[in-house]
Symmetry: C2
Subunit: 403 residues, 2 copies
């Protein structure tokens, strides 16, 4: 290691624990005598091209610990997706600083960024070690048991539905909660962990892994409403028809797309409102309410899984070890080793980059509107300790005498 400088950056959507990974990199790197400086690029790869660096070596350990416990990306993020020309701009800067270690904390798109940068470095004969550190609330990285950030977002969703169910039981009607997740339904499925008693909601869960049919949806809601006098529904923002067209795209006039070509699904309450309108019109039910969890579910301060926080820290630490003790680029993955225990591996970037994991069939109930116990067993330990619990009155009935 010539210069003793390493570089870390954060890309894509923030999570509640992404700074744990950043802090894991910085503190672990300090243990290596050959690391003299740890630089952070502001706003992801964009900050490399702009040469917008901060010297994280000057941060106190105590402040780093506090930043680690703070949600969202402390270095800032970006949605930029580098092409070859962009990568050459990156190299110019890395070369000037003699930076030979690059750590990028991000999801699907960011892992693809690391892959491109790694390949371009090899093609340019630049001695770069590039490591992808996983992070995404979508839980859609191939090769990982789960991804840091998902458990805390899942905890938010489970707690939100536990509360929404209680609210809906007090003032009965239909409640539709729309959850993030373009292709993978893991986060929407987490709503099932908010359920305790058999009559609790969510009574219906709609995932992007299954085709969404509006008539079937209305019939499902009606059946639950007829049985219980109320219905709580969890819906993924990514639900789509048999042709793969998102339900939201059917009604939105101007579709916003990001640099990766994805239609913008979040940041609007349109899908919930559309579904509520359908229910009102078709079923003539008066009290129909829709909430879109939006950005609350990924950045709410004060709803973190301790298991998630620990693992997010550890993937950062392991990334530094893989980089400085190892001899290849790659993507850090979490592998489950017990109930509950995890270990970390370095996967080839090609095995992860640009691929999308969706929910396995064994996790989805045959009805298509519920999860299996396998999913509950999978998710429960990730939610961490101190999950709030709902209790109810046992309700001894008083005999009627008044009328």
């Amino acid at each position: 290691m010539s210069s003793g400088k390493i570089l870390v950056a954060q890309g894509g959507g923030p999570t509640a624990v992404i700074n744990q990974s950043l802090v894991g990199v910085v503190l672990e790197a300090r243990r290596f005598g050959e690391v003299r400086r740890v630089y952070g690029a502001r706003h992801g790869v964009r900050g490399i091209v702009d040469e917008d660096f901060v010297d994280l070596t000057q941060e106190t350990s105590h402040n780093l610990e506090l930043v680690g416990a703070t949600p969202s990306s402390a270095l800032g993020s970006t949605r930029d997706k580098p092409d070859r020309a962009y990568c050459h701009e990156i190299f110019k800067v890395l070369r000037a600083h003699e930076i030979e270690h690059f750590f990028y904390i991000g999801g699907n798109d960011s892992s693809d960024t690391v892959r491109i940068v790694s390949e371009e470095a090899r093609a340019a004969n630049y001695p770069l070690r590039a490591i992808h550190i996983p992070k995404t609330i979508d839980n859609d990285l191939v090769g990982s048991d789960h991804t840091p950030g998902f458990p805390s977002a899942a905890r938010f969703v489970a707690q939100a539905f536990a509360g929404a169910n209680l609210d809906n039981a007090a003032l009965p009607g239909i409640y539709v909660g729309v959850v993030m997740g373009r292709h993978a339904g893991f986060l929407t499925a987490a709503s099932a962990l908010g359920k305790k008693f058999p009559e609790d909601g969510p009574h219906l869960i709609y995932l992007p892994e299954r085709v969404f049919e509006i008539d079937r949806f209305i019939a499902d809601v009606k059946a639950t409403y007829d049985r219980l006098g109320r219905c709580v529904v969890a819906v993924s923002e990514g639900i789509h028809d048999a042709a793969g067209v998102p339900m939201l795209a059917r009604l939105a006039k101007d579709l916003e797309r990001d640099a990766h070509g994805n239609v913008q699904l979040s940041g609007s309450g349109a899908l919930a409102d559309l579904l509520c309108e359908e229910i009102k019109q078709k079923l003539k039910i008066k009290r129909v309410r829709g909430d879109t969890f939006g950005y609350l579910q990924r950045s709410f301060i004060g709803c973190v899984s301790d298991v998630d926080a620990r693992e997010a820290r550890e993937v950062g630490e392991k990334a530094v070890q893989f980089a400085l003790w190892g001899d290849r680029d790659g993507s850090v993955a979490i592998q489950r080793t017990g109930f509950y225990s995890a270990d970390y591996a370095l996967l080839p970037l090609e095995a992860v980059a640009g691929r999308t994991r969706t929910m396995e069939d064994a996790l989805i109930a045959p009805s298509g509107t519920d999860v299996t116990d396998a999913f509950r067993m999978y998710l429960r330990p990730l939610l961490g300790s101190g999950m709030p619990d709902a209790y109810r009155l046992r309700g001894a009935v008083v005999p009627k005498i008044g009328r």
Copy 2:
């Protein structure tokens, strides 16, 4: 007290701590030897007319404690507003059970219900003691320093904006968060408590206490965006034009009204979407996101102010003491006696019922889009202990050498 039976019920929108008041009534009533049975009416006054009672005397103390810590109304709620005929139906049932003590936990509308029932009882010469126990996330009861349920909802809003600000700082753009509150802006104003550093959001706060002008709004957003490259906005669902017409009413086709004649403002993302669309069109800013906090802010499980929980319990306890040791009907009010300390008083029902408190001028900044330090001093102690805090990197800049 002839029969030794007392009756308690819950009305209006649920809160995170309304069951603390219920449990306060039940456990305190058990200390009075003359109370033999504590009945709960399911779904508010509707449950009295339907004679749908549960015997809370049979609940274990331990289960009551657990229910107390569970959000939403454990007995169920209602939006029914009794008229004279409805009250006569109530009396028929109360008479049959020889119930002479009625405790109703609720907000504005519920206090009016208690007033009507109290007056009708007097007119019918029925010896009823009727006590209103306060609860509302809107904080809009006249005569109270604040209302149980508000502090926990305020804590949710503050935590949500603390997180939304961090998210918006990482991926800059415009963020609009819509908060509940028809006439009173207290809950929207609570967003200011999520702010720590001077550049943090919310940068603009729109309250129903001030006239909302869309052109002024766009200009405010533009000024902040020009200065910081981003803007976080808190908006009350109750914002209205100079004529008092809600902004939402200007765009909604079918206005839903409840039994109290109120236009339905919650349960739809329409207002946030409208405001975001205006910003996109007028300012040509690409990244504009809107969230509607909806039902999350009043029933989320696991976001409770310990101060709120304690006071909600105490208003229930005090209600029983006022009823059994006192000689008049009334509404229990929280009065501030220190920084921070509170005591309880019994106000005449006429002083509270049907009236609406809004934010005092001293709490709103002259700009009309921020709160004053007086508001921060007012709210901070109510949010309770263990508020999560946001930290940031100090960010020592690395000199540019690469280009």
